[in-house]
């Protein structure tokens, strides 16, 4: 898949180095191949497998190593992507100049409809930067000397980042001392948005630095950043810290609360819909009532003879302490008795949102009353008796 080629000569900057199918994360192989490259001179050559001791003839070893891609390969992919984007825009009848990534996604889901449940298994068309993993360019020059001064620590990007951050801390403290010496120092309280952003997690940091970190390293880094952010910083330092924060959206703000509706008699009511497995329910909750619930024209006592189903219906009211205060009329179809009960519960909870305060809506959401249960029946797979059950294993 990756075309082997080597850029020859005394190139100054980073070169992507390929040695057959060897992952260059194996430094031993790299050293030897680099040495071989030096020995065999500057002519273009394809370093073959004979120089790399780590390659074996087994087929699946390749799958274990990460595939490495050359710069040219990536460039070619990007060109192909752009051309493909224009073709796609043409196909869809849109303007190729203003064809964004969202348009691409929409076009692909339209042209290749997929019923797969796993979203990551569906066909995608994205920029090669997002598809091919980021790889480290070679860290040393022709003479074997590494470029970065912290190369021999093993985690050069991490330590350089720590060095930079600490430098900034010292700088800020120095500035503070100067101000205090001049007497112009004033305690400014830090106001930062407490909710709404979070620090990078370890995986994200590893991805950013293209380096493996340990938990202690990560903790140390975060502590340093906290220390920096606690001091009065100016714009440059804020921007530096901001690179390592991600926003967090508050879930409940996405939830729209319908306003109350009023019918002819002036009674306040509200509707809600709910689904569970294959059952669909629609509920109308009236503001003032005595706790009667009518389902498809039948009293809930007759419709759900099982206590468990009635307990499910009781849950939203009991949670909000409004047991005898509302009347409900609902219709439900599909599913079995348990899923119908779950669907009505969801519909009733959604309808009740119009009657209660925002805090209570948030509590309901945290209690799980407002979430559609995503569990559906798993399909039966061929070669097995059921979704998970295999056929009886017979030794002979």
């Amino acid at each position: 898949m990756a075309a082997p080629c080597v850029s020859c000569g005394a190139a100054a900057s980073y070169r992507l180095f390929l040695a057959g199918r060897v992952s260059f994360a194996r430094e031993q192989g790299l050293w030897k191949a680099a040495a071989a490259g030096l020995q065999t001179g500057t002519s273009c050559q394809i370093l073959r497998l004979k120089h790399s001791p780590a390659v074996t003839t087994k087929k699946n070893v390749a799958a274990l190593r990460r595939e490495s891609y050359t710069v040219d390969f990536i460039k070619k992919q990007i060109e192909e992507f752009n051309i493909g984007k224009r073709h796609l825009a043409n196909m869809m009848g849109e303007d190729p100049e203003t064809f964004t990534q969202e348009d691409i996604d929409r076009a692909i889901t339209y042209l290749f409809p997929s019923g797969l449940f796993e979203k990551r298994a569906r066909p995608i068309m994205k920029h090669p930067e997002e598809i091919f993993p980021k790889q480290r360019a070679i860290q040393w020059g022709e003479d074997g000397r590494p470029f970065h001064f912290l190369f021999y620590t093993g985690k050069q990007s991490y330590y350089s980042l720590m060095h930079e951050a600490y430098g900034k801390v010292l700088h800020v403290e120095e500035r503070q001392d100067q101000l205090r010496a001049k007497g112009l120092f004033s305690e400014k309280p830090k106001t930062k948005d407490p909710i709404g952003s979070r620090w990078l997690i370890k995986e994200e940091l590893e991805e950013m630095l293209v380096e493996k970190l340990s938990d202690q390293d990560y903790a140390q880094f975060i502590r340093l950043l906290e220390r920096l952010s606690a001091l009065p910083c100016d714009a440059a330092e804020e921007e530096f810290v901001g690179r390592f924060r991600r926003t967090v959206t508050v879930q409940s703000k996405k939830h729209l609360i319908e306003p109350l509706q009023y019918d002819e008699q002036g009674m306040a009511f509200s509707t809600g819909q709910g689904k569970r497995k294959t059952a669909n329910a629609e509920a109308v909750v009236y503001g003032h009532g005595s706790g009667k619930i009518e389902i498809n024209g039948v009293d809930y006592l007759l419709y759900f003879p099982v206590t468990q189903d009635r307990e499910q219906l009781m849950f939203p009211f009991h949670f909000l302490d409004r047991l005898g205060k509302h009347d409900v009329t609902c219709t439900v179809s599909g599913g079995g008795r348990s899923s119908q009960a779950g669907a009505i519960r969801l519909a009733v909870a959604r309808a009740l949102c119009s009657f209660i305060t925002e805090d209570e809506v948030e509590w309901m959401r945290q209690a799980g009353l407002l979430t559609t249960d995503p569990r559906v029946r798993e399909r039966k797979k061929p070669g097995q008796e059921g979704a998970r059950r295999k056929f009886t294993w017979k030794k002979r």
Partner: protein, 402 residues
């Protein structure tokens, strides 16, 4: 020990007078001593804002509007004589647990009592049909009526569940009296035994008006007491069904004379006109009228006799081949049954109203039956209310696990 019980009794007395403060309730193992002591210390209940769950008025004849929702006590001796076989099994278990039999006074029963008190015995017997959804209290209302009639010295003809006669019968004999009908010796003999326990004193008074020949050696002469017929049925199980038939015929004939008043109480009367699950030896189904017991009973619930009343219940619970949600007499009786029973007075038995529900919960709390700590709080009561929707049967089942 006794001082301990006395002290406990005192606290209960105090707590009841002080408006049933729930914190004072003591949870102890044995129910019996506390109940006895509580009843000993029982006095005129003071006016409390919550529904009072008990009343001292133990005579059904004196029950009125003011007693609706309250439990009255039936002593264990009376229970054995009046209800040898009439009570529903869950109620029997409850009686055994609480060591007392308390029935709640409810409006449909009061209505029926009012009609019964004002019956004109010269007119043909009036038929009353208690109907309602499952678990609303039809059978217990019937028991209330039977208790009243027993107290008033009527002759009680009580068939506890007619459905038992049309299903699950092991031995069916061809009837000796009529070749086309079938006998059910077991059921008939069991019923005769219970009938005897309930109406001992009448059996010697009533005289048979015909001669009945059982077999070559045994016969009952004209003028002999009914007790002999009943004895014959109990001893000779083969003739039990015929004995039942004779008893029914004689009672019907003689109640018009005015010696006694007859109450015919049948629970699950829709069994008489439905289908049976019994089959002949060649696997062909048997219709109800081919069963001798059913045939005779049908004659009994016709209103061509005077001097008594007929109180019936239609129920889906034991019925065969009827949908779960059916509760109206029309649906359960079918066309044939409805035409036969027409005209009748229908009485609807519905779920508890809020006051009755409160009273029921109070009764359970007083007997220390609800052990959950939230049971006596308002929220607990609301939960129970929601879950059972004030249906008495369901409430009882729910409380069984609390």
């Amino acid at each position: 020990m006794s001082t301990g019980i006395m002290l406990k009794g005192m606290t209960r007395l105090v707590s009841r007078v002080h408006k049933l403060d729930p914190g004072r309730f003591l949870h102890s193992g044995t129910q019996a001593p506390q109940c006895l002591v509580a009843r000993l210390d029982n006095q005129v209940p003071t006016e409390s804002p919550r529904a009072i769950s008990r009343t001292l008025e133990n005579d059904p004849a004196k029950h009125g509007e003011q007693h609706v929702g309250q439990h009255y006590n039936i002593s264990i001796q009376e229970l054995k004589t009046v209800f040898p076989h009439g009570l529903p099994p869950r109620f029997v278990m409850q009686v055994k647990t609480f060591n007392e039999a308390c029935l709640m006074v409810r409006k449909p029963a009061l209505e029926l009592l009012h009609y019964l008190k004002n019956t004109n015995f010269a007119h043909p017997a009036v038929r009353y049909v208690l109907y309602g959804e499952k678990g609303t209290g039809k059978t217990l209302s019937l028991c209330h009526i039977i208790h009243f009639c027993a107290k008033q010295d009527w002759l009680i003809l009580h068939i506890p569940d007619a459905h038992l006669w049309v299903k699950n019968c092991r031995d069916l004999l061809q009837s000796t009296y009529n070749k086309h009908r079938f006998d059910q010796p077991l059921e008939a003999s069991v019923w005769l035994k219970n009938f005897k326990t309930a109406n001992e004193r009448f059996l010697s008074q009533i005289k048979v008006q015909d001669k009945y020949v059982w077999n070559k050696r045994e016969s009952t002469e004209k003028g002999s007491p009914l007790a002999e017929v009943v004895e014959q049925g109990i001893m000779r199980v083969r003739n039990a069904t015929d004995a039942v038939g004779i008893v029914l015929k004689e009672l019907k004939r003689q109640s018009s004379l005015g010696i006694f008043r007859l109450l015919v109480a049948v629970d699950g009367v829709n069994a008489l006109w439905g289908r049976t699950t019994l089959k002949r030896e060649d696997k062909s189904p048997i219709a109800p009228e081919e069963l001798a017991l059913i045939y005779n009973l049908r004659k009994m619930v016709k209103n061509d006799w005077q001097g008594g009343a007929i109180v019936l219940t239609v129920s889906q619970t034991g019925s065969l081949f009827k949908p779960r949600k059916a509760y109206l007499p029309q649906e359960l009786l079918g066309k044939e049954g409805f035409d036969t029973l027409d005209p009748f007075i229908p009485i609807l038995v519905s779920n508890y109203n809020p006051k009755e529900f409160e009273a029921c919960i109070q009764y359970y709390l007083e007997n220390n039956w609800l052990q959950h700590e939230k049971a006596h709080t308002e929220e607990g009561k609301k939960e129970l209310l929601f879950l059972s929707n004030r249906n008495p049967g369901l409430l009882e089942r729910l409380c069984a696990y609390l």
